[in-house]
């Protein structure tokens, strides 16, 4: 039985029916990780002992006739910025290289409570600051579709692991595209739900008002199932909304007949990689044939100001949220002759270059004068962007647009052409600014085997409907296969 080829729902069903055990499924996945992860470096910590224990518990529940939960025996991985009880949580930084939390992030806990089995932690850009997963202290992750390319980031390890068949579901965090862009690059499905849909408790923060947990899967059925488990109020996060969630799985099964779907226009399509433009046309066509009406939409304020706005908000907040790393209570410590010297040496040694620079930029933005003249206006423009979307979604049910303007980058582009990489956030960061649900959906591969994809966005808290749309497109385009990592070197090289 090739367990790694099963979807999460198939695994859970088999476990519940007794066709196989959670332990068997776990062992198969652990084995696959051990054999093949050396090629792509997507997993930074395996917690085999606790995983076996959790799997046995699920099996015991099944044997005793108890409900083992909707994700019974589904092995999963989480990005290394999710706090995990008893498992090292490093944010792939020297700063936290030996830090072991004593609690599970709410998202992790909800997965475990649903019967899923946590196997370990995945690679990421240091403190989620990057979009290539190259700045990790554990070394870069490679794209399982093409080892010469990056997997995207910052949740590159999670996306690569799902693509490689190491687990059917992995969790990432998305501040400006960190779940969806790597999902696009690795050819899997990634979702950033509405802000406030999933608790942020236990996620080492990048930016409080942008961060959101998101599932990465190989198909939308698993994604909806994960959403059913993950979404919900949490007394430990009062920015997580208290409304009663619908069944995402049920909604995902509904069609889109009669729905009105907008395709974004008015951006510089010429500068984009051609297959990604074609992907949008393809997706729109699928929608049309499923009975939806396709219209065009322009978002002038958003398209012009989103990136600037995003950088102001994200970096400003990062400078604040990363200030708690002072070498005193946890994390990397360096001695100093004075308190300030201790702070500076601990932070300088603990944080990597890019993190330090982003902290500095963020601090600059919030200082006197710049705050009043730049930061505050940016927060107003953020509201205008949210308003522009709210207005759009009065008339349409969803929006289709690019997630990344480019196919997966070659390795090392960060050093060569950093600007190109920043602009890569242009489409993905909008959903974070406006708090909207967004899905990066694979719609096939180029001739070279590189994944192509679209971004689907919906109105705030319209996550369920958006999953329905994704499901329709996926039915036509097919869900992406597991990357062929057995063939060393990946596709064509």
């Amino acid at each position: 039985m090739e367990f790694h080829k099963l979807s999460a729902l198939e695994i859970a069903e088999g476990v519940k029916k007794g066709s196989w055990t959670a332990s068997e499924v776990l062992s198969a996945h652990l084995e696959r990780i051990k054999i093949f992860d050396g090629q792509i470096n997507s997993v930074v910590t395996l917690s085999e002992e606790s995983a076996h224990r959790d799997a046995k518990e699920t099996d015991k529940a099944v044997a005793e006739g108890k409900d083992p939960g909707p994700l019974a025996g589904v092995p999963f991985l989480v990005k290394d910025n999710f706090c995990t009880d008893g498992i090292r949580t490093t944010c792939c930084s020297k700063m936290l290289s030996d830090w072991i939390p004593d609690y599970d992030a709410t998202a992790v806990k909800r997965m475990k409570d649903a019967g899923a089995v946590l196997m370990g932690k995945t690679n990421m850009d240091e403190f989620a600051m990057g979009s290539t997963t190259e700045s990790s202290i554990f070394g870069p992750t490679l794209n399982p579709r093409d080892f010469n390319r990056v997997p995207g980031g910052s949740s590159g390890g999670s996306a690569a692991a799902v693509a490689a068949g190491f687990c059917p579901i992995a969790l990432g965090s998305d501040t400006g595209g960190s779940v969806r862009q790597p999902s696009a690059f690795c050819g899997v499905q990634g979702m950033k739900p509405s802000y406030g849909q999933i608790s942020r408790y236990g996620i080492v923060a990048y930016a409080s008002s942008l961060d959101q947990v998101g599932p990465i899967t190989r198909n939308t059925g698993d994604m909806a199932a994960a959403m059913d488990v993950l979404a919900g109020p949490d007394p430990n996060d009062t920015t997580c909304d208290a409304y009663e969630r619908p069944s995402f799985s049920q909604a995902a099964a509904e069609g889109i007949k009669g729905k009105k779907i907008a395709v974004l226009t008015g951006y510089d399509a010429e500068s984009m990689d051609r297959p990604l433009i074609e992907a949008i046309e393809k997706a729109a066509g699928y929608c049309r044939s499923a009975g939806a009406e396709i219209v065009e939409a322009e978002l002038p304020i958003t398209m012009k100001h989103a990136v600037a706005c995003y950088y102001m908000v994200a970096l400003g907040d990062a400078s604040s949220k990363l200030a708690c790393f002072d070498g005193m209570r946890y994390g990397h410590h360096a001695d100093g002759r004075s308190l300030v010297e201790m702070y500076k040496r601990s932070r300088n040694q603990g944080f990597g270059k890019e993190v330090r620079k982003r902290i500095l930029i963020g601090t600059c933005i919030l200082t006197r004068g710049y705050y009043e003249n730049y930061y505050v206006p940016a927060t107003k423009v953020r509201q205008m962007i949210a308003d522009e979307y709210a207005e759009l979604f009065k008339g349409v049910d969803a929006l289709i647009c690019p997630i990344s303007p480019a196919l997966p980058y070659k390795k090392g582009l960060v050093e060569e052409d950093p600007v190109r990489i920043y602009l890569g956030d242009a489409f993905s960061s909008i959903a974070n600014l406006a708090g909207l649900p967004s899905i990066s959906l694979n719609v096939g591969f180029t001739e070279e085997g590189l994944p192509t994809n679209v971004q689907l966005m919906g109105p705030r808290f319209g996550d369920a409907g958006l999953l329905g749309l994704a499901h329709v497109i996926e039915n036509k385009a097919g869900s992406p296969p597991i990357a062929d990592i057995e063939k060393k070197g990946g596709c064509r090289e």
């Binding site: 007394p235 996060d237 009062t238 002072d326 209570r329 702070y343």
Partner: protein, 485 residues
């Protein structure tokens, strides 16, 4: 040239909640082992988020209403950034641009007149941890290292910022006293400067000859009413002297040195500090809508100034007496419980102010620890009214009640006073005894030689003394006369 001193105060009140402002750690930190009232939230453990304490908001609104402020709905918290060992997140969560209560006032009585002090605003914020410096005097200067205790970190504070409406140390003290009284009445804070649940920063400047405000100096480290008074007097004199000598004042923060009795410049470039305030997005806006505020307003107890006014009116006692009785809510409650037993208010007031106060002072206890229940004191006062006890006896009885923690009845017995008055046969017995020992006087009267009745009065007086006032003088007179005939 006489310049007017202009004083504004920032009062930090530690709110009387069971838990901290943003986490479920116990607020009962005084005397606790260091770093035991802590949790991942107040230690700024990665991944944790602040969760606002509902009760802290309620207490903030309460005191805001007590200060006649408008309560604002959907106000925000901000982050105030600076690195320091007592601040785990390297930012303090505080209300900056949008405080929960704005624009109130409080009336004070100082320098012999009533004055209204305007409140600029009241906001909520978290406290910092505590540093212990291993130096002889416990101060930072000279310490080669410091120890950090986060037990206090995250405690809820409400900061009350006045307008610069005070012009003398006496007014400042009256203002603080009034706020403290209000906080205690509303059970919002203990308001104790000694334990740090009430802390004051003083802003003082001298007005220019044209009436405009002069350079403002902030004084910190004033830890008692007395040191505030001294610090203000010193600082006002210092500023006058600098200006008199043609010098210039700098806007700065100065520390009060209680031992030396001087303020000293902190010499830090305070003006250059940039706290980078911005909205705390880990917390939702604080909802405090009209309905919420109405409920709290309806739950408010009688304010101290209302009580003062009512006592004076209802009990026909002087303003001075009312002031003393209403200074503490507990004292006022005790007084009213006494009165409700049926004891005359004026007498109760007198007993409370004289006897009870004296005992409390002697024992160094508060009214809450006074062992005599108000109903018992009320009954005692009634006994005096009914002449069942003399004043002297009643004081003895009260002393026994306090000392032995016994009931009125038991105390009366222990004092050797039978229950109630000495009357009838018991009184006749006493009189016979007196007659027996004063036969000469009796003979004088019986022989008709007591023309002016002096001997009869003498015998009556002896009876009264023997009964320690427990006999009715009229009955004594009639019985003595009757038994002589």
């Amino acid at each position: 040239m006489k310049r007017e001193s202009v004083i504004g105060l920032e009062i930090h009140l530690q709110l009387k909640t069971k838990t901290k402002l943003f986490c479920s750690c116990s607020s009962d930190y005084i005397g606790a082992t260091p770093n035991t009232n802590v949790c991942p939230v107040c230690l700024a453990v990665p991944g944790t988020l602040p969760i606002l304490n509902d009760h802290a908001v309620e207490l903030g609104v309460k005191i805001g209403l007590g200060l006649h402020c408008s309560i604002c709905d959907n106000t925000r918290f901000h982050r105030k950034h600076y690195f320091y060992a007592d601040l785990p997140k390297a930012y303090q969560i505080t209300q900056y641009e949008h405080p929960i209560a704005v624009g109130g006032y409080v009336d004070i009585f100082a320098d012999g007149k009533e004055k209204r002090i305007r409140i600029h605003h009241l906001h909520l914020e978290e406290d910092a941890g505590k540093l212990v410096h291993p130096t002889a005097d416990g101060r930072l200067t000279g310490a080669s290292y410091s120890l950090v205790d986060y037990n206090r970190g995250g405690m809820p504070l409400s900061e009350i910022v006045s307008e610069p409406d005070m012009n003398s140390a006496e007014e400042a003290i009256a203002y603080i006293t009034q706020i403290r009284q209000l906080a205690r009445y509303l059970e919002v804070s203990d308001g104790e400067m000694e334990s740090g649940s009430l802390r004051v920063d003083v802003n003082v400047s001298l007005s220019n000859p044209d009436g405009s405000l002069g350079t403002r100096v902030e004084i910190k480290n004033v830890n008692s009413l007395r040191s505030i008074e001294r610090a203000l007097e010193y600082e006002i004199a210092r500023q006058n002297k600098v200006l008199d000598e043609g010098g210039h004042l700098v806007q700065e923060t100065r520390l009060w040195d209680d031992v030396a009795g001087v303020t000293r410049s902190m010499r830090s470039k305070e003006g250059e500090r940039d706290y980078r305030y911005y909205v705390e997005m880990d917390l939702a806006p604080i909802s405090a809508g009209p309905e919420y505020v109405r409920k709290i307003r309806e739950s408010l107890p009688e304010m101290p100034w209302e009580k003062l006014e009512r006592f004076t009116r209802e009990y026909s006692i002087s303003r001075e007496e009312s002031l003393q009785l209403t200074e503490q809510k507990e004292t006022a409650d005790y007084f009213e419980a006494c009165v409700s037993e049926g004891a005359p208010a004026a007498k109760c007031a007198n007993w409370m102010r004289m006897e009870v106060q004296r005992i409390l002072r002697d024992l160094s206890i508060g009214i809450n620890d006074f062992p005599v229940p108000p109903a018992e004191l009320g009954k005692l006062i009634i006994k005096v009214e009914k002449r069942e006890l003399s004043n002297t006896q009643a004081k003895d009885v009260l002393a026994v009640m306090v000392e032995k923690k016994v009931s009125l009845k038991e105390a009366v017995r222990l004092c050797g006073i039978s229950d109630g008055r000495i009357t009838g046969p018991a009184l006749e017995e006493v009189i016979r005894k007196i007659f027996a020992s004063e036969q000469e006087a009796v003979e004088t009267i019986k022989s008709g030689n007591d023309k002016k009745g002096a001997k009869v009065k003498f015998l009556q007086g002896l009876v009264m003394r023997e009964t320690r006032g427990s006999a009715d003088p009229a009955e004594v007179a009639s019985l003595v006369n009757c038994m002589l005939n």
